[in-house]
């Protein structure tokens, strides 16, 4: 039984307007605050740098959102991203180096496949064994970490071809490519969660797996698909990170792990499963980025920004409670 149950849910436009409203308000307020207070906040350089930084955390948060809605968690997202990045980097440098664009595409395909496979593994174990996803994904996380460190001897792989780096630093119709990748992924995920059988079933499973199974839903298949999808999204994050830093190492972005959980809960995802939306998550992530960049411009340390993020979660959660109770 969940202590906090959001009584309203998707499959209606407007039901989630509360969450979108809260997140939009948060974004507008934080944006306005730093636009006034932080010198150079509205400059093209800063706006572009925010748009380049956001996608990594954003894609990892999408990878976390799906399992959270299903009542689980995927603690392996960051290391899945690393392993996927390592796979692509190694292949492009060693095996596909002479193949040009085709080599890059093949390398990315292999990286995404490896990330999906990591998710598939978690999904199969969760579905077949019935162990709690926290345990399974924790095991997978440590496994991937150890495996990656063993294979790379703790080092990293650097130096990707220019064509690949374009994914991290290029622009298309004036929008940085990483941002474009993030927005496309978010849009695709929103559609999947909202308008497909599997997306529908993920919400149902999150609230009550047994009752969903009794209704004739193949819950094992849904679990496997959703963790595979989570792995795929993490792998896309891995590609963006590899392209932006032009290097990959096990442990890269490790500190993002709990921030992705924070972002999901900030955006109103229910910690007990069943509820959570993509659009509020995107808006929430934008606010987090605005806060981090704005504080950076004002000369505050990165760590203080992190503290503010935590405080924000607590404040938003506190403000949200009366609304949930009333409805």
């Amino acid at each position: 039984m969940s202590a906090v149950s959001a009584p309203r849910r998707a499959f209606r436009p407007g039901a989630e307007s509360l969450e979108i409203g809260i997140m939009a308000l948060l974004l507008v307020v934080s944006f306005a605050f730093f636009a006034l207070m932080a010198p150079g906040f509205l400059s093209a350089v800063n706006v572009r740098s925010m748009a380049v930084q956001l996608p990594e955390l954003g894609l990892l948060s999408l990878a976390m959102l799906v399992p959270i809605i299903s009542g689980g968690l995927n603690l392996a997202v960051t290391f899945t991203a690393n392993i996927a990045g390592l796979t692509t980097a190694w292949l492009v440098q060693n095996a596909l180096g002479d193949a040009g664009v085709i080599g890059i595409v093949a390398g990315i395909g292999a990286g995404l496949a490896v990330g999906s496979a990591a998710g598939l593994l978690i999904g199969v174990i969760v579905a077949r064994v019935g162990a709690h996803p926290i345990l399974v994904s924790l095991g997978a996380m440590i496994f991937l970490q150890g495996l990656g460190e063993f294979l790379t001897r703790g080092g990293g792989i650097s130096g990707m071809p220019a064509g690949f780096q374009w994914l991290g630093s290029g622009s298309l119709i004036g929008i940085p490519v990483p941002m474009l990748i993030f927005l496309l992924s978010a849009g695709g995920l929103a559609y999947f969660m909202q308008f497909t059988r599997t997306g529908f079933s993920i919400h149902m499973i999150g609230s009550n797996l047994r009752a969903t199974e009794y209704s004739g839903i193949n819950v094992r298949r849904v679990l496997i698909v959703l963790y595979t999808l989570s792995g795929l999204l993490a792998a896309i994050a891995g590609m963006v990170m590899l392209a932006r830093f032009n290097s990959v190492r096990v442990g890269h972005g490790e500190s993002y792990l709990l921030i992705t959980v924070l972002a999901c809960f900030l955006a109103g995802a229910n910690p007990f499963g069943g509820f959570g939306r993509v659009l509020p998550l995107v808006l929430g992530l934008m606010s987090l980025q605005v806060i981090a960049s704005g504080m950076n411009l004002m000369g505050a340390s990165q760590h203080l920004a992190t503290a503010v993020w935590g405080a924000f979660l607590i404040v938003v959660m506190t403000l949200r409670m009366p609304f949930l109770k009333r409805s």
Partner: protein, 496 residues
């Protein structure tokens, strides 16, 4: 016997715009068992909450207790001092604590700083257990007990806390017939010890068996207080609902075309050699005590578990079910007895709960789930089954038991089944709504659907079945037709 334990007069309560209790009076004698009856939403719970100090009544109410002076409201502190206790349906026990710790829990509330002595707790608990004469081990953890035993723990707990007036909210809802008998005996023994008991139950036969008087509420107003002597179930449900309900058995429809055939179906440890035939348009009553194998049989027919022996035929062809998805594809639907945990996804919307069984079909033409189609489907079923819904996007848990059960029926009827298995479809559904549910079920059968109706309420089975099969310890013990049997003899057969 005739002195008054509690008298309340002029009790009203307003929530926002609605007056949920209107000038109700209530009188409880010392050592009596009184029933508080009424449909869901009639104000029973509100009245109980006022009497045990949770809610404050509107001005103008008076409460008196035997010889003490009258007061205008009962505070939680008063309720405690007067020994007024409520055992809610969920029992509010601590599952991870032992029986003894649960029983003496209120001691800790009274003096929170006193060190906790397990030995003293066990001794005190044993004393109460012996006084009540129930088979409880003080050291068992409550989560390991059956619901019936947990209820005994809850009763011990209020006794230990010095209860003189005990409200029991739906105490028999999840008990088997034998357990109900035990509970009714305990209720009588408490009343013999001078404790007054207010019994809230939807099962009218129990009410009439155990209570001396019954106070009926309807729409927040008092209908009256009546002696149970000479009272019938028909009359009582009339008083509760305000209109007459038909109480006659169904005419057998003379169905001959077999739809589902069970041949020596067995599942080790659950049921053995069950052979029966379900015909088109027939309501087959399947009854027997809890644990007789009714639900286990239903689970096999719905593909949730595999049989270990025997054969299943659908329309004359052998049928093997590897999952409930197979069963659904073959037109078999199952309404679980456990609506809370298995029947519905309580936190999710009415729309999602209605549509969940037919997602494939809803996705078909365009390859995506259109919110408009989901809504249309839901609206259609809400209208067809007469479900009272304000907003289909609200969580299904916001509905009353009867309306929730209509949503369960809707989600299964949407799969267009030809065999519908109903496992205790009226659990937690009040009298008026029960009749509505059975109207729907009878209509479905008349339209040609074959229905297996599982229930341990003899009256339900007797009134609604064309044929009745009685299970006993996993085997078919009797087969009979209601038109040639009386309700009383059916009840006897079930309990034999």
């Amino acid at each position: 016997m005739d002195d008054i334990a509690l008298r309340a007069e002029g009790v009203s309560k307003v929530f926002g715009q609605s007056r949920v209790l209107d000038d109700v009076s209530f009188e409880l004698r010392r050592g009596e068992v009184l029933c508080l009856a009424g449909e869901n939403g009639c104000g029973k719970s509100t009245l109980i909450k006022i009497l045990n100090g949770v809610y404050t009544p509107e001005a103008g109410a008076t409460f008196s207790f035997g010889n003490a002076t009258a007061v205008s409201r009962i505070t939680p502190h008063d309720a405690r001092a007067l020994g007024i206790h409520v055992i809610w349906q969920d029992l509010a026990l601590f599952p991870h604590l032992s029986v003894a710790e649960n029983i003496v829990f209120d001691d800790y509330v009274a003096s929170p700083w006193r060190p906790l002595s397990r030995r003293a707790a066990r001794r005190a608990a044993r004393e109460v257990i012996e006084r009540l004469g129930v088979p409880l081990d003080p050291d068992t953890r409550v989560e390991d007990l059956s619901i019936a035993r947990r209820q005994l723990v809850a009763i011990c707990r209020v006794l230990r806390a010095g209860a003189r007036i005990v409200f029991m909210d739906e105490p028999t809802a999840s008990l088997t017939r034998n357990e109900v008998q035990t509970l009714l005996e305990i209720t009588r023994s408490l009343s013999a010890q001078g404790i007054s008991i207010v019994f809230v139950s939807h099962r009218l036969s129990e009410v009439l068996a155990v209570c001396q008087r019954v106070t009926v509420l309807r729409n927040g107003a008092l209908v009256g207080t009546y002696s149970t002597e000479g009272m019938t179930q028909t009359r009582l449900s009339q008083l509760m609902t305000g209109h007459e309900l038909a109480l006659t058995p169904r005419e057998p429809n003379g169905a001959v075309e077999p739809v589902l055939e069970l041949r020596n179906l067995s599942r080790t440890g659950e049921f053995e050699n069950v052979s029966l035939t379900l015909h088109r348009g027939e309501i087959l009553g399947l009854t027997g005590l809890l644990g007789a194998g009714r639900t286990e049989l239903a689970h096999v027919l719905f593909g949730m578990t595999r049989p270990t022996g025997g054969e299943l035929l659908k329309n004359g062809k052998p049928l093997t079910l590897r999952s409930n998805r197979d069963a659904i594809r073959h037109g078999i639907a199952y309404v679980s007895e456990d609506r809370l945990n298995l029947g519905l996804v309580q936190n999710q919307s009415i729309i999602m709960n209605t549509a969940v069984t037919v997602l494939d079909e809803l996705e078909k033409p365009r390859g995506f789930l259109s919110p408009r189609r989901l809504r249309e489907l839901t609206t259609e079923w809400i209208q067809r089954l007469g479900t009272k819904v304000n907003d289909a996007e609200l969580a299904v848990s916001s509905l009353s038991g009867g309306n929730q059960q209509r949503i369960v029926l809707a989600k299964w009827l949407a799969t267009k089944p030809d065999v519908l298995i109903l496992d205790c479809p009226t659990v937690g559904v009040d009298v008026g709504a029960k009749a509505g549910i059975f109207d729907i079920i009878r209509t479905l059968a008349d339209q040609g659907m074959s229905i297996i109706l599982i229930s341990d309420e003899a009256s339900e089975i007797w009134m609604n079945s064309d044929r009745v099969v009685v299970l006993k310890a996993g085997r078919i013990s009797r087969e009979l037709t209601p038109t040639t049997t009386t309700e009383a003899s059916l009840e006897e057969i079930i309990n034999a």
